[in-house]
């Protein structure tokens, strides 16, 4: 379902300084698989996620998702693809702290001008799934870390995407909350979502819900 073909990604910091984040990487991820990308920071895991989400374009190579070449999509179409297919859970959650839970979760749908009933239905569904309904109108900055994480996951799922991407989801959480997160992943796996997680948290290693682990180091797969 997701395929990277000979992907190289480099950043030009200035004329003399080029950082190579990914070096000729190829990988395949099947539908419904839960794949963990292991590796220290700087190994290129975040770049892979970024490419799958069409948040960045590869310097060379192709990224194909569901038979569609997403690596060369124009900006508008890349966003549309992201909106319809990807649910991204960021390391720092990236919620808008002055808005409420409800408003944050609905944010991906705003430009679509959805039918209010439709939007409500989607909202209720994800809030219940991730057990955050009771805090519907609370402002983000007043929530605990764990609650914020649940909002982040709910937002990532509001548009029923096929692919869930999580970048170091448990980096800022204690063990208890980390285990909570894994529970939520189990729910998502049941729905046959394709899940890709970049992490160096040992809690994920050897987990039964993980189908595969891909180890990365210095921009290449080991």
């Amino acid at each position: 379902m997701i395929e990277l073909k000979n992907v190289t990604k480099s950043y030009e910091i200035n004329k003399n300084n080029i950082v190579v984040a990914l070096n000729d990487v190829s990988m395949k991820i099947g539908e419904g698989e839960l794949v963990v990308l292991r590796g220290a920071s700087g190994s290129g895991k975040s770049s892979v996620l970024s490419l799958i989400a069409a948040l960045s374009k590869p310097t060379t190579g192709e990224v194909i998702v569901d038979t569609k070449q997403i690596s060369k999509l124009p900006d508008n179409f890349a966003s549309e693809y992201r909106r319809d297919n990807i649910g991204f859970v960021f390391q720092k959650y990236n919620l808008i702290t002055t808005l409420s839970v409800k408003e944050n979760i609905l944010l991906p749908l705003v430009p679509l001008n959805p039918d209010p009933d439709d939007a409500d239905e989607k909202l209720t569904r994800v809030m219940e799934m991730f057990k955050i309904s009771h805090k519907k109108d609370a402002i983000i900055k007043n929530l605990s870390g764990g609650e914020q994480q649940r909002v982040a996951i709910a937002r990532a799922n509001v548009n029923e995407p096929k692919i869930i991407i999580a970048d170091e989801p448990t980096a800022n959480l204690d063990e208890k909350l980390s285990l909570h997160f894994i529970e939520m992943l189990k729910e998502l796996k049941k729905l046959n979502k394709t899940i890709v997680i970049a992490t160096h948290d040992p809690l994920f290693f050897g987990l039964d819900i993980v189908d595969r682990e891909i180890e990365m180091h210095n921009g290449a797969i080991i």
Binding site: S50, A53, N94, E103, L107, L109, V110
Partner: protein, 394 residues
């Protein structure tokens, strides 16, 4: 092309505006102030124009003046007979009037001469002749406007006034009444006395007059009659009511044009400020846009949202500015600003600005504010919308 209005986006835009509270309050306040100033000026000129046009309406259709060497001269009184002979002319009256410069106060009085048995060309003068003591006394007497009375009083003249004649001698005229004209603008600096007295003060011969006013039966024929008069008196200048109206409109357009020019300058400055403010993004703002794009907002969506913001701010400022202007001009009678337009002489009137509702003015102010504000935000909004989400999230 007919999509439903996206209330979600509007709500988000409003929230975004409130999130940058101080910056936006600054912008909104400045914009509101500019709009307020501009609208007030337009309202004032509209009202004064209206007053003036009403004044002009009360004036005679045609005024005939004699011109010698390009300058205004006294005209022969008997010219009225020849003018009366022209078809369509109902009445022709010789007027005797002039400006008297009162040195001590540094002001001009308008002296208007009336004769008891003549039909006056203006209602207010007719009233003066009928109701005042002017014609009843043997001595020279006058009826004055309020502003004149106050000025005279300030210079210690209570019941009479000494006019200085051209030969240096004094002429004493008794004050027998105070009057209000049809509109306040005109009556303030007027002194009404007998024609003989005015002639004496200005050293004008009995057979001469200042000008001749002509009344016509059909207003549409004014231009024709004016040209006929010109044929009879080639050395005359004919001023029609329409000419006056046009010149008033031009004067006002000229004056408001000056203000508009000033406004343009301030607008330009404002444009630069807006551009600068809008371009200067806090890292917080950048992060927010990055988040939006990361969760699936397209460039077009972010652009649309930015324009909603711009439109909301500018339109809101427009409404508040206009409402404040209405209050300032029509309820508080525009202190300070009013003087810029009405003050020619010291005898300033305090008259009430009539409420004129002119849709075109509202559109004019709208075009001078909202599109310009939005234009200033085009490039900054575009820069924001095309930020790379990837770089921002890391």
């Amino acid at each position: 092309m007919r999509k439903k209005i996206n209330f979600y986006l509007i709500e988000y835009a409003i929230n975004a505006i409130l999130r940058q509270k101080y910056k936006n309050i600054f912008i909104a306040t400045t914009l509101t102030f500019l709009i307020f100033l501009l609208t007030s000026i337009f309202f004032i000129t509209n009202s004064i124009k209206y007053e003036l046009n009403s004044t002009v309406d009360a004036l005679p259709e045609i005024v005939v003046q004699k011109i010698k060497a390009g300058r205004h001269y006294d005209i022969e009184t008997h010219a009225t007979e020849e003018i009366l002979a022209i078809t369509g002319v109902v009445d022709a009256v010789a007027r005797v009037w002039g400006y008297y410069y009162f040195e001590n106060a540094g002001v001009n009085f308008s002296l208007v001469g009336v004769d008891e048995f003549e039909a006056q060309y203006k209602e207010s003068l007719q009233r003066v002749v009928e109701t005042s003591e002017l014609m009843n006394t043997q001595d020279s007497s006058m009826v004055v406007g309020r502003g004149v009375k106050d000025t005279m009083q300030k210079n210690y003249y209570k019941d009479y006034f000494n006019f200085i004649k051209p030969d240096g001698t004094l002429k004493r005229v008794d004050l027998v009444g105070v009057f209000d004209g049809d509109t306040q603008l005109e009556s303030n600096d007027i002194i009404v006395m007998s024609k003989a007295d005015v002639r004496e003060i200005f050293d004008m011969r009995e057979s001469m007059a200042t000008d001749i006013v002509v009344k016509v039966s059909n207003p549409d024929e004014v231009a024709t009659i004016a040209s006929k008069i010109k044929l009879v008196f080639p050395d005359s200048r004919i001023i029609t009511k329409n000419d006056l109206k046009i010149s008033y409109q031009n004067i006002f357009d000229y004056k408001s044009g000056i203000f508009l020019a000033l406004f343009v300058v301030s607008l330009f400055t404002f444009f630069i400020i807006i551009y600068d403010k809008a371009s200067g993004l806090s890292s917080e703002e950048k992060r927010e846009i990055g988040i939006l794009k990361a969760i699936g907002w397209r460039v077009d969506d972010v652009l649309k949202e930015k324009f909603y913001e711009g439109f909301i701010i500018s339109f809101f400022s427009y409404m508040i500015g206009v409402i404040l202007a209405v209050g300032f001009v029509y309820i508080f009678q525009a202190p300070l600003l009013q003087n810029i337009f009405t003050g020619y002489s010291q005898l300033k009137t305090s008259f009430e600005l009539p409420f004129i509702f002119d849709v075109q003015t509202l559109f004019l102010v709208f075009f001078l504010s909202v599109p310009i504000y939005i234009a200033a935000t085009i490039i900054p909004s575009w820069k924001i919308s095309t930020l790379d989400a990837d770089e921002v999230i890391r």
